[in-house]
């Protein structure tokens, strides 16, 4: 794997999964993983296996539901979909994430001499 790939911050994967399900509707684990990889243009370091820990966590919190179904190429797979609670959670977390990235942008965008009083 190329060393430049991003390590996922704690909790970000959960948010990505929720967003993916909110946009794409019902999906199986492989589909979610692939989708995240595609959207991130292979920039994140995602061991696809870790998605399942995230899924079980979200399901236990009641933010997603699951049921067994059959995939496009006729494989039995477990399909996940977002719940109402999950949508609310997504809204809250997305807003939080937006604020945080905004702040991070501003902080990191400071000029080296921004702290100085204008002469």
């Amino acid at each position: 794997m190329s060393p430049e790939k991003l390590d996922l911050l704690q909790g970000t994967l959960d948010l990505m999964v929720l967003q993916t399900l909110a946009v794409m509707g019902s999906m199986h684990g492989y589909g979610i993983a692939r989708r995240i990889e595609q959207v991130s243009a292979d920039e994140v370091l995602l061991n696809q296996g870790t998605i399942y820990a995230s899924l079980v966590r979200l399901e236990q919190r009641g933010w997603i539901d699951s049921s067994w179904g059959v995939s496009g190429n006729n494989r039995k797979a477990k399909f996940y979909s977002i719940t109402e609670a999950g949508k609310r959670k997504l809204a809250v977390d997305a807003a939080y994430w937006g604020r945080l990235t905004g702040v991070m942008d501003r902080v990191l965008g400071m000029d080296t001499d921004a702290g100085k009083e204008p002469a």
């Binding site: 199986h28 684990g29 492989y30 589909g31 993983a33 692939r34 061991n47 696809q48 296996g49 870790t50 399942y52 820990a53 995230s54 079980v56 966590r57 399901e59 236990q60 919190r61 009641g62 995939s71 190429n73 494989r75 039995k76 797979a77 477990k78 609670a85």
Partner: protein, 899 residues
């Protein structure tokens, strides 16, 4: 808020169920992951990869199947619980592989925990748990502060009772019982032979105040204690079962008791034991109502007070009010000058305090002793685990290398400790229940409430607490040591002979020193208590308890006049003494109404005739109404003459007094040589009493305090309250029991089959509390010594094993076996010296704690300390000698070849 709580609860539930559905969830996950990989492979192949390459890439992208499973489990469930289950399984397996270690460890812990739980139950019963009455915290015992004049100064008259009851507002009600009942005072006649039993007279509201409900029938009503009431009786559960075969239809039946048809109106519940609360070690069979308005009116101080405070009334208020009412209370309303004599002598104390307060010191000591046992057990376990851990260090290093975190290994070790202490707790609970069962059935020990001893919820809680505490205590040191070492070091080292294990041996040496010190303290405590006990046994009680026995004698002195009654009684007593005295093997006989160490009473203070009484006289000597020969039968020395049958109703009233009272009186009188014998005294009533003899001081209330004052009246001149026939024999008294009883029954067919009580038993009963504590502390000290010896043995043999090669080399270089032996023993003794020094110093620093329990023994008693040091040295030497001897017999060649 609530939404969060709901989701938290839901998550918790999900995790909880996930734990139980673990396997199903694992299977589901596997299916899911298989599907995932399948889809990935399909996609890769569509892109043109070979099947093998497609699979490789799919797995690569998936990243560790097992890792994903673990994360899944971690995310979904109570990981710790699963780990715990794993650890438990693993631990049980390892423990089974080493049964010797497991058994020793569980036994050591079992002994420690058992002793602790048993003592906790005793403490809980005596000190922590409320008395077995409803709202027991409201109950108070009302009595004067302790005095020297026995029960007569600890009780009140019926007039005083009435005044107190009417005059106070702090109490819901006040009750009491007749304090002078002697054992065997009830003769139940069911067949030919009357059966002796013991009953206590109580004021009719007694059970109402205590809040006791009958198991059957009813308890007393006010009218049961009035003049002319038909005689009724309430049976204790035990007597009802023993004597009346648990007859369910007994209520309303009448029996001949003391010559009166008495109706059984009720049976008490099994948990009511009068003796256990009010008179430890005594057996009370039945309760009868006291007629406050009959003859007892003029009997003086006869009643003890028990009050139930109103809810919300504080002890201070009750005290204050009692002090205010006391001056108005009269000894007898007929004598106005007897009013006010109870001033400052009416003090309520919580009933619980009265029952068990004086045991607080002893119980704390006992608790301390078992605490030390527990510490020693923990130290021993720590040592065992350290030795084991050393042997297992490679196992742990290997597990570490395979990915177990340090925390996980510590956790594993703690699980092991917990399992061991859990096993110990089970063994301990069994030991404790055995011990408590035994104690609860020791009716003769003069300690209160023992009958209610049992393992209850609190004791179970205590067991768990101790077990967990112990597991942490003995598991933490080895756990940290194990996990603390560097993996690399451990794997590299062969264990034995390395720096690591030498350091560990130092830790273990410190532990053994602590152990020896604790054992030393326990032994010092036990030794001091033993010395005290021996001193108590050596106290000159003023009578010879060996080869004497007493039996309660029934007589009939009913007559029209007091004089006729005295003559009738004298006649019967004389006959009894003559006949029993003639039995072969009987050395001396006599009668008294109270035996020493049982009941007593006082009748005022006779004073030298013609000498002005001081205003403030201490209340007088304890009164014994005796026949000629009594002092000789008891083995009490006498100067002057004994009573004779010639000292009759018509002759000069005579008394004998004891030395202490004679000395007191001599301070006021001007007697030649200060000798009371032959002098005249004036009784409180004004009559003249001739002192015919001065008797040795008798310990009448306890074996440990000072002997008080005694006065003896002849049974031919004063009225005894019952008769105890004392028989001194040349043979063991029990061998004469049947012939004495036959003679008594010959003379009086109404003589109940009373118990033939060795006088020695009275003394033993008086000493039973001290003996009880001494035996317990002694047993604990023995246990501590054993454990400490085990610890020394374990350490030394471990160290010898570890140094096998070294010893082999030294022997190959010419060291003799003797030399090796001396070396190893030297190491052992060094430990012992340190331990003993530490233990002795700590004991000396803690003398204060044990001081109050000692009798004529200083807490720094040199001989005790010398003996303890000697015992510990011997124990250390023995436990060190075994491994030392083994070391000295090592074959150098064999030793060098071992790893």
């Amino acid at each position: 808020m609530s939404a969060i709580r709901v989701s938290t609860a839901r998550r918790g539930m999900g995790r909880f169920f996930a734990f139980f559905r673990g396997r199903a969830m694992d299977r589901e996950l596997e299916a899911e992951m298989a599907a995932h990989l399948g889809m990935a492979i399909d996609e890769n192949m569509e892109r043109g990869m070979t099947a093998v390459e497609a699979r490789r890439q799919a797995l690569l992208r998936f990243g560790g199947v097992d890792q994903a499973k673990n994360r899944h489990r971690e995310a979904r469930g109570l990981m710790s619980l699963e780990i715990l289950m794993q650890d438990l399984k693993y631990t049980v397996r390892t423990l089974f592989r080493d049964p010797g270690f497991t058994i020793v460890a569980v036994l050591i812990l079992g002994l420690g925990i058992g002793a602790n739980v048993a003592v906790f139950s005793v403490v809980n019963t005596l000190m922590l748990r409320p008395l077995p009455f409803a709202n027991a915290q409201e109950l108070v015992w009302i009595a004067p502060p302790p005095t020297k004049c026995g029960l007569s100064c600890a009780t009140y008259s019926t007039d005083a009772y009435d005044e107190f009851r009417v005059g106070t507002r702090s109490y819901q009600d006040v009750t009491g019982y007749f304090a002078f009942s002697s054992s065997g005072n009830l003769a139940l006649k069911k067949g030919d032979v009357p059966i002796a039993a013991t009953s206590i007279d109580v004021i009719a509201n007694f059970f109402d105040v205590l809040g006791v409900q009958p198991a059957m029938g009813r308890l007393f009503r006010a009218e049961d204690g009035r003049n002319g009431a038909s005689p009724v009786i309430v049976l204790t559960d035990a007597w009802w079962r023993r004597q009346f075969n648990a007859d369910k239809g007994i209520i309303g039946k009448s029996f001949d008791m003391n010559g009166q048809q008495t109706t059984v109106i009720g049976v008490l519940p099994p948990n009511f034991d009068f003796g256990a609360v009010f008179s430890p070690g005594a057996k009370v069979d039945a309760i009868t109502p006291l007629n406050l308005y009959g003859p007892p009116r003029d009997w003086g101080n006869i009643i003890t007070f028990i009050g139930r405070m109103k809810p919300g009334v504080t002890l201070a208020q009750a005290r204050w009010e009692a002090a205010a009412v006391a001056p108005r209370m009269c000894w007898n309303n007929k004598y106005p000058d007897s009013c006010g004599q109870y001033k400052d002598a009416v003090v309520p104390v919580p009933l619980k305090e009265w029952v068990s307060g004086r045991l607080r010191n002893a119980l704390s000591l006992l608790w301390g002793a078992v605490g030390m046992i527990m510490l020693i057990a923990c130290v021993n376990l720590s040592n065992l685990l350290l030795a084991r851990a050393a042997a297992r260090s490679k196992e742990f290093a290997m597990r570490g290398a395979l990915g177990a975190s340090r925390g996980r290994i510590v956790r594993q070790l703690l699980t092991e400790s917990l399992i061991l202490s859990g096993g110990g707790a089970v063994v301990g609970l069994m030991l404790a229940s055995l011990m408590l069962w035994w104690l609860a059935h020791q009716g003769a020990i003069a300690l209160p409430l023992l009958n209610t001893l049992r393992i209850d919820g609190a004791a179970l809680g205590w067991t768990v607490l101790i077990a967990v505490g112990a597991a942490l205590l003995f598991g933490i040191v080895p756990g940290l040591r194990m996990a603390g070492g560097s993996l690399f070091e451990t794997l590299k080292n062969s264990g034995a002979g390395s720096g690591q294990s030498r350091k560990q041996e130092r830790v273990r040496s410190v532990l053994v020193v602590v152990e020896v010190a604790l054992a030393c303290m326990l032994l010092v405590g036990a030794g001091l208590l033993l010395r005290s006990f021996l001193h108590v046994l050596n106290v000159d009680l003023g009578f010879q308890a060996d080869r004497a026995a007493a039996v309660k004698v029934e007589y009939d002195d009913s007559a029209k006049t007091e004089e006729a009654s005295e003559a009738k009684r004298a006649n019967q007593f004389q006959q009894i003494l003559a006949r029993v005295g003639a039995i072969p093997g009987v050395e001396a006989v006599g009668m008294t109404d109270y035996l020493p160490l049982t009941g007593n009473r006082a009748w005022g203070t006779p004073f030298p005739k013609g000498v002005k009484r001081p205003d403030k006289l201490p209340t007088g000597p304890l009164v014994y109404v005796v026949t000629p020969g009594y002092l000789r039968a008891m083995g009490t020395g006498l100067r002057g003459r004994d009573f004779t049958w010639a000292d009759g109703p018509k002759s000069q009233p005579v008394v004998m007094i004891n030395k202490a009272y004679a000395n007191f009186l001599a301070n006021y009188a001007h007697w030649p040589n200060n000798d009371a014998a032959g002098q005249l005294l004036t009784a409180n009533g004004g009559a003249d009493l001739r002192v015919v003899g001065v008797a040795d001081d008798v310990h009448e209330e306890n074996t440990e305090g000072e002997a008080g004052w005694q006065i003896y009246y002849p049974a031919t001149q004063a009225s005894p309250s019952g008769a105890q026939l004392v028989v001194r024999t040349t043979l063991p008294p029990a061998t004469l029991a049947s012939s004495v009883m036959r003679t008594l029954r010959d003379l009086n067919p109404n003589q109940p089959n009373a118990e033939f009580r060795p006088i020695k038993r009275l003394v033993e009963h008086a000493n039973s509390g001290r003996q009880f504590f001494m035996m317990l502390v002694g047993a604990f000290a023995g246990l501590g010594l054993l454990l400490a010896a085990l610890g020394i043995y374990g350490l030394i043999s471990y160290s010898v094993t570890r140094r096998t090669q070294e010893i082999g080399i030294r022997m190959a270089l010419g060291a003799s076996g003797r030399r090796v032996l001396v070396d190893v023993m030297g190491g052992t003794m060094r430990l012992a010296v340190w331990g003993i020094a530490l233990g002795t110093a700590t004991s000396l620093a803690l003398t204060r704690i044990i001081q109050s329990m000692l009798f004529e023994t200083p807490p720094w008693d040199v001989s005790t300390y010398v003996a303890v040091v000697f015992v510990l040295f011997v124990a250390a030497a023995v436990s060190g000698y075994i491994p030392a001897f083994r070391a000295s017999r090592l074959d150098a060649m064999v030793a060098l070849r071992t790893d």
